[in-house]
């Protein structure tokens, strides 16, 4: 617990003389904090979930579980490649004490790094409540529960006698809020000890409310260990994604953007805020009512102080959200209702694997048509040879691979394929890439 080291160093310097009165916690103050940490740990342990090399937490008595997307991503990806790809993804999870169960993937938010699971067995399950992350203050003590270095679940036998399903609890403080860092748009930064294995675990107040899900740490010296800077996805962002996740049917939920709106962030110390530089004609941004010159003041009542904050805050809303934006238009406040469209940057997925076709014509011969993908839905078959993509001749596999980098979800491709000695034209609309 780094933050208290300073207190002690100071008290040591003055302890022998006893003359100086320095602000240090008394036995009583420490005892109060200690009691709340012990109580929270006791409450949190039954709601903790061990998930394949990471952590999770039960958030309602029906057995809904939150974790990071990156904890389950590989399992999902492997499942989708397997024979039962159409079946829902179920994972084996365990609880403190060793009880095991199956949890089904309900929905995933890869950009926000959150996944929602649900226990297959009906509840009730001990759980913790999601709190209000906007009420969190810098310096506030927070508690993390997780499975760093897999010590709690003994997946690799470090100690001679292995530990029995007890996660690790650590204490620290909130270091900063609204960090746009390490791929998280609006993270809570904390010095609580979180290490590989803590991902997906809860960040709690001393009252036991979940204010974040721990997911990333800043490391140095090539060592994958905590260095005092950890990032958690805030609970309010997660709360906005809960309903879309519950309705995702095992699939993916997207973040979004206000299409057609171009902004310029503040230029530093003096001027605050974000100004609209351009609004594309016919775009959702224009339809919402933004005008060039507007100063964006807040989104949903939350202050926007610069461009990074604008991007970060916007990224905490799921695609399909309606958000209330306040702008300053030539000195007068204006309300703009904006719609969050799926981000243009969601990568497109065709759903085939292939190799360079032999013979003088060349092209890409399809070896695998991925189950549930756009190619399968469009009727592509193993053995088809793709010879043209959007009018351009494909000679070898690399031509297809390099084109695929630019693909976006929703984009339509026109393919010319050879099936036997017949040539066919197929139009395929790309899906978002599954299992990021």
């Amino acid at each position: 617990m780094r933050s208290v080291t300073f207190l002690f160093t100071v008290s040591l310097l003055f302890s022998s003389s006893g003359i100086f009165a320095v602000a240090q916690p008394t036995a009583g103050e420490l005892a109060t904090l200690e009691d709340s940490v012990v109580r929270t740990a006791t409450k949190a342990l039954p709601a903790f979930v061990f998930i394949d090399g990471g952590s999770g937490v039960v958030i309602s008595s029906d057995g809904s579980i939150l974790t990071n997307n990156h904890v389950v991503a590989d399992i999902v990806k492997n499942h989708l490649k397997g024979n039962n790809a159409k079946d829902p993804v179920k994972l084996r999870v365990s609880f403190v004490g060793g009880r095991q169960g199956l949890a089904q993937v309900i929905g995933r938010d890869p950009d926000g790094d959150i996944a929602l699971l649900k226990m297959v067995e009906p509840g009730p399950y001990p759980h913790l409540e999601l709190g209000d992350s906007d009420r969190v203050r810098i310096g506030q003590p927070v508690i993390a529960v997780g499975n760093p270095f897999l010590l709690g679940e003994s997946a690799f036998a470090f100690f001679a006698g292995l530990s029995d399903f007890s996660p690790s609890v650590s204490l620290g403080v909130v270091s900063a809020l609204h960090r746009k860092s390490e791929m998280y748009p609006d993270a809570i930064q904390t010095d609580v000890a979180v290490n590989p294995g803590n991902s997906g675990g809860p960040l709690l107040t001393t009252e036991g409310e979940i204010i974040g899900i721990n997911g990333k740490i800043q490391t140095r010296f090539l060592m994958e260990v905590n260095s005092g800077v950890g990032y958690a996805v805030p609970s309010n962002q997660i709360l906005r994604f809960l309903d879309p996740l519950k309705q995702a049917g095992g699939g993916v939920v997207h973040h979004g953007t206000i299409r057609g709106l171009h902004i310029r962030g503040s230029d530093g110390a003096k001027s605050l805020g974000v100004s609209v530089t351009r609004v594309d004609a016919g775009s959702p941004g224009e339809k919402a009512g933004f005008l060039p010159g507007d100063q964006i003041v807040s989104i949903e009542g939350k202050a926007v102080w610069n461009g990074r904050r604008f991007q970060g805050l916007l990224a905490t809303y799921p695609a399909g959200s309606r958000i209330a934006v306040k702008v300053d238009r030539e000195g007068a406040a204006q309300d703009v209702e904006a719609f969050v469209d799926p981000s243009d940057t969601t990568k497109g997925w065709l759903g085939v694997r292939g190799e360079t076709a032999l013979g003088s014509v060349g092209g890409v011969k399809i070896n695998v048509v991925e189950s549930g993908g756009p190619a399968e839905k469009a009727g592509l078959q193993v053995g088809d040879v793709i010879v043209k993509l959007d009018g351009k001749v494909l000679k070898e596999h690399n031509d297809l691979a390099s084109a695929s980098v630019e693909w976006r979800a929703g984009q339509e491709l026109k393919l010319h394929i050879l099936r036997g000695d017949r040539e066919e034209q197929v139009a395929i609309r790309l899906d978002p890439r599954p299992g990021e």
Binding site: M1, R2, V4, T5, L7, F8, T9, S11, L12, S15, Q24, P25, T26, A27, G28, L30, A31, L33, E34, V37, V38, T40, A41, T42, L45, G98, R99, Q100, I143, P148, F149, L151, G152, S154, A155, A157, F158, F159, A160, G161, L162, S163, D164, S166, P167, S168, V169, S170, L171, G172, V192, A193, V194, N195, F221, L222, M223, V225, N226, S227
Partner: protein, 347 residues
């Protein structure tokens, strides 16, 4: 241990009669905790033969080209380490890590006294403990007996303070954290997030009531969690007291025997999610004596469903030799429940 604490409770009354007698509510001010603990915390100076950096093994890649920063991180730093003086005879407890390697000399700086030679008596490697002894005691050194904490009082979330004497033996350091987990290393060690570095391991871990609950351990350049990562451990007071008599005699404590079942998987037997088909059952092993047979499919051990051999091995490793376990197998089409008493892993 409980009777041993009674005189100490009375002494506390003598020092501060205003304090309530109940142990739970006796929590000291940070000053008092530190002053009490740092009296016994000593600096240990170890001179040893040079060691190689503890770098992860890489296939085909030599040390050459490894970033210098990583080499330094994975090497033992120079400077003193920490230990705990535990009696008037000059016994000093520290970690096995602090005295590992080929030693040339060991010296101890007691607070307020000059450096003096000591010798390594014995080690308990699996608990990361070592006992050294001063070769001479300074006249007038007063060492009241330590107040060891009771294992049953330890709670996840409670505060602990770790005291060290590195890098400067004159000035103790303190880091504070909580008990992160109990039950590590078969219940012999607890985990703490109080920062531990390569200098303060071997130092005492003290609870808010001033009792010594453990010795800072299992942090060093050879461990994957590095230093100051919030992953640290304390070898529990009870563990220390249980091996002290042996260590005092100069006897190294051997590594504990591991539980052993005595089965191997069948070649095509590892069916993910459906249990482990046994290919062999070692003659005379716990498995054979318990009634397991080749061809049985192990479905569960205790409350844990077993889906592959890794899980089976894990379930056995988690237990002690002599533990009785319930093993459910599929034999043909029948489910059979067996009670097996685990043996000891042969060396």
């Amino acid at each position: 241990m409980r009777t041993g604490l009674l005189p100490w409770l009375l002494l506390l009354f003598a020092l501060d009669p205003a304090e309530a007698p109940a142990r739970e509510s006796v929590r000291l001010d940070p000053d008092q905790i530190l002053q009490a603990a740092s009296r016994w915390t000593v600096a240990i100076h170890v001179d040893r033969e040079p060691e190689r950096p503890s770098l992860p093994r890489r296939r085909g890649r030599s040390l050459f080209g490894t970033p210098r920063i990583l080499q330094e991180y994975k090497s033992r730093p120079s400077g003193p380490v920490t230990g705990l003086l535990i009696d008037g005879a000059g016994h000093v407890l520290t970690t096995y890590y602090n005295v590992s390697g080929t030693l040339k000399s060991v010296e101890v700086t007691l607070p307020g006294w000059e450096r003096r030679p000591a010798k390594l008596l014995a080690t308990d490697r699996s608990d990361d403990l070592a006992l050294i002894k001063l070769e001479s005691i300074p006249d007038g050194l007063e060492v009241p007996p330590l107040r060891w904490g009771d294992r049953d009082d330890l709670r996840v979330g409670q505060f602990v303070v770790v005291v060290g004497r590195a890098p400067d033996p004159e000035h103790p350091t303190a880091t504070m954290g909580i008990v992160s987990a109990l039950g590590r290393n078969g219940g012999r060690v607890f985990q703490t997030d109080a920062e531990l570095n390569y200098g303060n391991v071997g130092g005492p871990i003290v609870a808010l009531d001033g009792s010594f609950v453990g010795l800072a351990s299992f942090v060093g350049h050879t461990y994957p969690w590095g230093l100051n990562s919030g992953i640290g451990f304390g070898t529990m007071a009870e563990t220390i007291l249980s091996v002290l008599p042996q260590l005092r005699q100069g006897e190294n404590v051997p590594a504990p025997r591991r539980a052993f079942l005595g089965v191997g998987p069948a070649e095509q037997g590892i069916m993910a999610g459906e249990g482990v088909r046994l290919g062999e059952v070692s003659p005379g092993s716990a498995a054979e004596l318990g009634g397991l047979k080749a061809g049985d499919v192990v479905l569960s051990i205790g409350i844990e469903t077993i889906s592959d051999f890794v899980e089976l091995r894990r379930a056995i490793n988690r237990r002690q030799p002599g533990d009785e376990v319930e093993i459910e197998v599929l034999r043909g089409s029948e489910r059979v429940q067996l009670k097996v008493r685990l043996g000891s892993r042969p060396e």
